[in-house]
Amino acid sequence: MERIENHPILGETPKRKKVTFSYDGKMLEGYEGEPIATALKAAGVMAHRYTAKTHEPRGIFCAIGRCTDCVMIVDGKPNIRTCITPLEAGMVVQTQYGVSATPEE
């Protein structure tokens, strides 16, 4: 999804530091300090996890850390709410399947 560079009310989006991070093995770019979920959205990632029972995709839903639908495995730790966790350079972000990083059959 497109980032908003200029907004009629909020004006120009302040420049921030670009960092790279890995997402399921691919290298992606994002801005330091923005929520991981924002960087993923900018890269077109919609599904953050697949549920434990029915293996359905989930993504951003509330964007403020309440619904926990956007959780992923970040630096090896599962259940990280990506909508409120700031992006750092070199982070390793993985799709979460149930609570693990590998899809189950």
């Binding site: 730790k77 259940n79 609570v99």
Partner: protein, 386 residues
């Protein structure tokens, strides 16, 4: 609405629900269960760590605990039509000091004397059973036939089945007093004045049993103690065993769902008092957790299972346990109150024995011999100290 029944059970916890189910199954025509709160299993039944174990118990409890594990738990899910999540993968009671080990050895010895398969294992074997444990654990007692289950679904499973078999349940029905008719306990009077009558009255209301029994002149020697539980978010499958420790720091297990459920305390429980904050008057129904327990519990758990340090706690809760004078339940008829059966004082470990206790209660009502001898659980077993 008919308020008269063969049996009136006071208390809609797991023991009350199980008794109701086995009574109905055994052919008792009319059974009524009265629950004071608005939900079934509101007390200890939904506030425990889910242990289904024999090890660590007083030898007076072992015969029936063993009976339940051998004959009832394995088929319970099928019988109740719910997933009780019963898992029989052993109980590890851990020790960190020579004193702990000594204590565990004594428990093990007494359990062996009544035929329980429990033995002491060293650190190496502990680690083989559970590689996630801290090196501070130097040994443990190991009972391979112990396990755990889900107290919530098990309780509601009994309730559901009993309902299906026609047992009448009333919630929000707090009992104020009992009353004898012609020398026999018969009437159960609610706070709102409603009267129920039963040929037999089973009093299975946790600590509240004491106040209710007192209304017909029976005092049951027990106290009340708060205990807290907590649950983590879902974790990858790690551990099947039930945990306990010699120091009673914590107990718990990983559930089928993946979350870990633990019970623990802060050490302040004996002076903890539940107060209605609006009036500042003590009110045990206000189940407010203590601000220190959550962290104390986490310290205890991390001390044994460091691998869980990043697991997040999603919820904590607390409940009262009805602690009998000698830590062993009361399960008996009462000489001076014919018609009354007492089932209380489970002292925080009544969940694992609930199926067999329910069964034996039904047998007591129906005039059958109980599956094991429970004469050691008489309410009047205490003698003066000199």
């Amino acid at each position: 609405m008919s308020n008269v029944a063969d049996v009136v059970i006071i208390g809609g916890g797991i023991n009350g629900c199980a008794a109701a189910y086995y009574l109905a199954k055994g052919g008792t025509k009319s059974v009524i269960v009265l629950e004071a709160s608005n939900s079934i299993g509101h007390g200890g039944s939904s506030r425990n760590g889910g242990g289904v174990r024999q090890s660590g118990r007083d030898i007076r409890e072992l015969p029936y605990a063993m009976y339940g594990i051998k004959n009832m738990w394995p088929t319970l899910s099928e019988e109740l039509g719910v997933d009780t999540e019963y898992t029989q993968k052993g109980n590890l009671r851990m020790g960190k000091t020579p004193e702990h080990i000594k204590k565990l050895e004594a428990l093990t010895k007494s359990a062996n004397s009544v035929g329980l398969d429990v033995r002491m294992i060293d650190q190496k074997e502990v680690k083989e059973i559970c590689p996630y444990l801290s090196d501070e654990v130097i040994g443990a007692s190991w009972c391979p036939t112990d396990g755990h289950a889900n107290p919530l679904t098990t309780t509601l499973g009994y309730y559901k089945r009993a309902l299906e078999m026609g047992v009448k349940f009333y919630t929000e029905a707090p009992v104020k007093s009992l009353q004898k008719v012609k020398g026999k306990v018969r009437k159960v009077i609610l706070n709102d004045g409603t009267i129920f009558e039963g040929e037999t009255i089973i009093l299975v209301s946790g600590y509240e049993s004491r106040a209710i029994a007192r209304t017909i002149g029976v005092d049951v020697p027990m106290t009340r103690l708060i205990d807290e539980c907590l649950v983590t978010e879902m974790q990858p499958h790690m551990i099947d065993v039930m945990f306990g420790c010699a120091s009673a720091d914590f107990y718990g297990h990983q559930t089928k769902h993946g979350s870990f459920v633990f019970g623990s305390d802060s050490g302040w429980e004996t002076v903890d008092e539940m107060v209605d904050p609006s009036t500042n008057i003590p009110d045990p129904s206000k189940l407010i957790t203590n601000s220190m327990t959550l962290s104390a519990s986490c310290r205890a758990i991390q001390g044994y299972i460091p691998a869980l340090k990043d697991a997040k706690i999603v919820r904590s809760w607390c409940g009262w346990l009805d602690e009998s004078f000698d830590g062993v339940p009361f399960l008996s008829r009462v000489d001076e109150a014919p018609g009354l059966i007492l089932a209380c004082g489970f002292t925080g470990h009544g969940f694992g024995t609930a199926p067999v206790v329910g069964l034996m209660l039904s047998q007591m009502v129906q005039g059958e011999e109980t599956v094991v001898d429970i004469s050691a659980l008489q309410y009047n077993r205490f003698k003066p100290c000199r």
